[in-house]
């Protein structure tokens, strides 16, 4: 009797939802509500966009057009075009003295997001833990869960310029810990980490034999000092899966092309999943990426110089308004604190949107340690940044 009731209830449950428990366990993205709200309103100035406001440089678009005219629209090898892998290997050899074998240690992915998903599925057994520095990009936690892993977040704080510390990571390590996931320069804080800071993380990874998943998509957008590749640290080339791409540096977000670098066992495993799911990254985009690497430096540096000017404009602007903002040295995000306003970040962002038509993203969307902050993208024109700052200033003043 008991058995049959259970069966019925299981059947009922089955009818009520056809979605897996795993997917149900992940809440919808907190950004969605603000997206819908911004879409309903007119004349919204958006500092809520995590992508460049520049159009892809013309020479890159022109190479896409040319390749389409030539009819190069078939599948590429699963790993990606050999010329692109060679070009990436050459870049890392030249810029970071790192030797990656283009045949076994480089995989071209459909953006970094796909790459991170592949890595999680390639390395995690059910119940394995991944330590994630937080606040973090919204996909990291769900990606670990979808792969059957358990995300374990480590909070960073403004007191330490949003750098993750070896000490905090070590506190969270258990026998199930498999990997550490970091992202510097950071979305959403704009924080960067120097070589010495990263070396301490590397020491912990080595001591506990952990894989480091390093998302370095914003590496070119480092304004003060020089970016350090995690895999360039002593002994870390075999323990790091490094992710990068072309979306942010060359304004190619919609072309969806990125890459993963790592030791052959992990890249091989990732390639296996990629070949059965994605097959290959879009061929047009891969050719665009070759052009970006060969001819894109001048345009990229021009964009980076402009971001740096806007960084000064927006961060000093927030500090003048009275929203304390730390001087992040990378990416294109300012992360001002709204602690003095008496509002939560959600309230602040919602009211700001409704009353002043300025879209920003509340920091708690990126994890609990982002509560009390706003992510404001300065991948927006100077005029928009100035107008947005003026409106935010009025809003803060009127809410006092």
């Amino acid at each position: 009797m008991k058995q049959s009731t259970q069966n019925v209830s299981r059947l009922l449950h089955k009818r009520q939802t056809r979605v897996s428990d795993t997917v149900q366990s992940v809440p919808p993205s907190g950004i969605r509500r603000f997206f819908d709200l911004a879409n309903e309103l007119e004349d919204v100035i958006s500092l809520g966009v995590g992508e460049p406001d520049f159009v892809t440089p013309w020479h890159i678009r022109e190479s896409c057009i040319h390749t389409l005219e030539q009819g190069h629209t078939s599948y590429t090898s699963n790993q990606g075009l050999p010329e692109l892998r060679e070009e990436i290997a050459g870049t890392f050899r030249r810029d970071h003295s790192l030797n990656y074998d283009p045949n076994e240690e480089i995989l071209i992915t459909t953006g970094v997001s796909e790459g991170i998903d592949l890595a999680m599925r390639a390395i995690l057994n059910r119940g394995d833990e991944v330590i994630i520095s937080e606040p973090c990009y919204v996909s990291y936690v769900p990606t670990v869960i979808f792969a059957g892993g358990v995300p374990v977040t480590v909070a960073t704080s403004i007191e330490n310029d949003f750098k993750v510390t070896a000490e905090r990571i070590e506190e969270k390590i258990t026998e199930k810990t498999r990997a550490i996931m970091i992202n510097y320069p950071n979305n959403p804080t704009g924080a960067t980490m120097g070589t010495k800071d990263l070396e301490e993380i590397a020491d912990v990874a080595t001591e506990y034999d952990l894989i480091v998943i390093s998302d370095e998509i914003y590496d070119k957008l480092t304004y003060d000092g020089k970016h350090t590749c995690f895999s360039s640290l002593n002994g870390m080339i075999t323990n790091t899966v490094l992710f990068n791409g072309f979306s942010k540096s060359h304004a190619m977000t919609g072309l969806r092309v990125g890459y993963a670098l790592g030791s052959s066992d992990i890249i091989g495993a990732m390639t296996k999943i990629h070949q059965y799911s994605m097959l290959c990254a879009p061929s047009t985009s891969q050719i665009a990426a070759i052009d970006a690497l060969r001819n894109g430096r001048v345009e990229m540096e021009r964009m980076v110089r402009e971001y740096d000017r806007r960084r000064h404009l927006i961060i000093s602007g927030f500090n003048k308004i009275g929203l304390d903002c730390f001087w992040g040295k990378g990416a294109f995000y300012a992360f001002p604190s709204i602690a003095g306003t008496g509002m939560t970040a959600d309230e602040f962002a919602e009211r700001l949107m409704l009353e002043k038509r300025v879209a920003v993203v509340p920091g708690n969307v990126f994890g609990d340690s982002g509560a009390g902050f706003l992510r404001c993208s300065y991948a927006a024109s100077r005029d928009d940044i100035k107008e947005a700052l003026a409106r935010i200033g009025e809003f803060v003043e009127s809410s006092r």
Partner: protein, 162 residues
């Protein structure tokens, strides 16, 4: 980036920008920016603050022509004497020494095609060093000094993206 270079890049694209905004963009003080701009003006690095105008949009605007000329050279002075002489005409907007079939390329501006044609015939072609001229009238300007005149490109983006 070097401060002077940073300022030049900002001013080149927006000569109307004020000192305090350049200061905000570079994280420097107004005084530092003012001093640097003064120095760049003083040493001739900044020659002039120019405006790009789409004269096609103005009634009674201007007509432009590109004139290629071949010259006979003088010993000692080379192209300089004739180039200097041509440069002094206010109708002549630019003068360049070029490679190829001709020696010097000019841009000439006038109120009408007739006026430009007569200017070239009377003032340029008659110079003793000038052997031949070829006049090409500009019918439409698509891009001027790095600026595309007919449209500006914007990336169409969703309002909020993580």
């Amino acid at each position: 980036m070097d401060l002077a270079q940073n300022i030049l890049e900002i001013i080149e694209n927006d000569p109307k920008i004020d000192i305090s905004e350049i200061a905000a963009l570079t994280g420097r003080s107004d005084e530092e920016i003012r001093d640097c701009v003064c120095q760049l003006e003083g040493d001739g690095t900044i020659r002039k603050y120019k405006t790009i105008i789409d004269w096609d949009k103005v009634d009674n605007g201007f007509v432009y022509a590109i004139i290629e000329i071949t010259v006979s050279l003088e010993r000692e002075t080379g192209y300089n004497v004739v180039a200097d002489r041509i440069s002094k005409f206010p109708e002549v907007r630019s003068v360049r020494l070029i490679s190829g079939d001709h020696d010097i390329s000019l841009t000439v501006r006038g109120k009408s095609m007739k006026q430009v044609a007569f200017f070239v015939a009377e003032k340029i072609a008659t110079l003793p060093q000038v052997q031949s001229t070829a006049t090409h009238f500009v019918l439409k300007t698509y891009k001027e000094d790095g600026v595309i005149l007919h449209e500006t490109e914007h990336a169409e983006r969703l309002p909020i993206v993580a």
